[in-house]
């Protein structure tokens, strides 16, 4: 298992955030965040679709 170093203050904040977000551990929380970010970078969502989703939510298009 690989290890990474993060600032201890950020570690404490992340630990609290993981708890309040309902994650069972900090590892699970960080893995989830990294997976989401990596997926977005590996296959960027279509910008037109993102814009359309935002406009639809706001009620400006069907």
């Amino acid at each position: 298992m690989a290890k990474i170093k993060i600032d201890s203050k950020l570690y404490d904040r992340a630990k609290k955030a993981a708890q309040s977000a309902g994650y069972s551990s900090l590892e699970e929380f960080i893995t989830s965040i990294i997976e989401k970010e990596v997926a977005q970078i590996e296959s960027p969502a279509d910008d037109d679709e993102l814009a359309a989703k935002q406009l639809r939510g706001l009620g400006y298009i069907d």
Binding site: D48, L50, K53, Q54, G57, L58, I61
Partner: protein, 194 residues
């Protein structure tokens, strides 16, 4: 007498001041095309000035002919669907993107609707690209003439902006009435950069 040779379009990103511009045009005596289906609320206390058939222009553009001599609100992404056989004068609202996104976020939260589930940075990039693409496209379309109006300038110097708009629309507005319709109290997401 109403000039029916062109259709006035108020456009821009959602929350860029399009409703404010519609209010000014209406106060200035220009006939507005709206069905008032979308009720005024906390996000747009003076009304949305929308016209529901605009959303379905691609499938049914029959409403467009009846818009000659009137003003209608059409967000930037739906301008692509307008039929090319008419002449359009587009008043395009420009506003600090940070303010736009903050206002959109408030509106989504209030209406409990989901928008694009991405970071603010990503959404800023998306809309920057959308507007760049739109700018490239509209200059190639002979049916459109466009006047860009800065949201903040419309609020801080409404008379000067209304003079520009009136020249663009061939002098059809009552300037004083149009300018006094602008309500600075509704400028609620102000950021440092215009």
């Amino acid at each position: 007498m109403t000039d029916t040779s062109f259709i006035t379009i108020v456009s821009g990103l959602p929350r860029s001041g399009t409703s404010m511009m519609m209010q000014a045009l209406e106060a200035g005596g220009l006939e507005i095309l709206t069905d008032n289906l979308r009720r005024r609320d906390e996000d747009n206390p003076k009304g949305y000035y929308e016209f529901e058939p605009v959303k379905k222009t691609k499938q049914d553009p029959s409403w467009v002919a009846g818009a000659r001599g009137k003003a209608v609100k059409v967000i930037y992404s739906l301008l692509y669907d307008l039929p090319s056989e008419f002449a359009y004068r587009v008043i395009f609202m420009e506003r600090n993107l940070e303010e736009v996104l903050a206002s959109q976020k408030t509106m989504l939260e209030r209406s409990k609707q989901a928008g694009a589930d991405v970071s603010n940075e990503k959404l800023t990039e998306v809309f920057r690209l959308q507007l760049a693409k739109f700018d490239d496209w509209i200059v190639t379309q002979k049916q459109f003439r466009i006047l860009r109006v800065n949201h903040r300038e419309m609020i801080t110097s409404p008379l000067a902006q209304c003079e520009r708009i009136n020249r663009f629309l061939d002098g059809i507005l009552d300037l004083e009435k149009a300018a006094t319709a602008v309500d600075p109290a509704l400028y609620r997401k102000r950021r440092d950069n215009p």
